[in-house]
Amino acid sequence: MANAHAAESASHAHEHVHEHVHEHVHYTTTGLDHKKIAIWAFIGSECMLFISLISTYLIYKGRSVVGPFPHEAWTSPSGQLFAPILNIPVTSASTFVLLMSSLFMVLALEAVEHKGNPAYANNIRGNSKFWLMATAIAGATFLGFQAYEFTSFVHEGLTIRTNLFGSSFFTLTGFHGAHVTVGVLWILTLFAMDYSRGLTKKDTVLVDICALYWHFVDVVWIAIFTLVYLIK
């Protein structure tokens, strides 16, 4: 009987220690959380990936032999007229949506960081579920705009195989869209965790690394919007 009681106590103590370890942020010898170091290193490598794609786009810019072209009209040898293909108003709207999604994401992080703070309780500022879902919806809306853009380009005669502009444009924006898709799935995962067990202050790092990824996707779009869409 005494042995059983001791074994039960030991088991509880083990569970407590196990829980305790998981509750704490995993610091490295630098005193920084290793997840944050990893995400910043990853973002650094992603900078190189996107700069290589942007470089390729810029090098091929203006070297397409046949149209459609991004900013100029083109008449095919058969006499068919192609208007400039980029739709600036639609892309401006999608850019605004992505910028707003970054605001929603930072407010989601703020809400999780202040869990238990009376000033954030029972109001929208502390509602992490709301901000996470708003971010995911904004991200999905951006993807909807991109799907519309890609579809209309194909209907207008521009595919990834049409010319150098098509190849470099679809590769660059397609890679960015894939990153946004991963971001939306990541945010929805956090939303599911928040819905099922509730995110607490201890989960701040989980939301923080997702937010860093999401903001990075936003800054990449800031560069793409200017270099691809606005500069002729």
């Binding site: 944050k36 910043w40 290589s52 600036i88 930072v106 407010l107 903001h215 800031i222 606005l230």
Partner: protein, 103 residues
Amino acid sequence: MTDHEHADHAHEHPTWKQYKWVALILTLITVVEVWVYYTPFKDSPLFVPTLLIMSAVKFAIVVLFYMHLRYDHKLFKALFTGPLIIAICTLTALMFLFGKFSL
């Protein structure tokens, strides 16, 4: 500074109000970028530098405030700016190599 003081320092963030101001500034810059695109200024030689500066300002604002790099540890700053500088140097070199820029 101890490890945990480092970690505490890393948790300094802008306020809710500042986040909203940042969003407003980003939106205004985007509106100006698009507006400039539809004006005769787009034929000016200053058009491209102006757009690049506005884009760089937006980039910096998001990185400094939304990604908290302004408040974060210098190792995070190094992990981001180091590869970014290498990437921008590579981009510039490729532009010269393929005749997009010339001296």
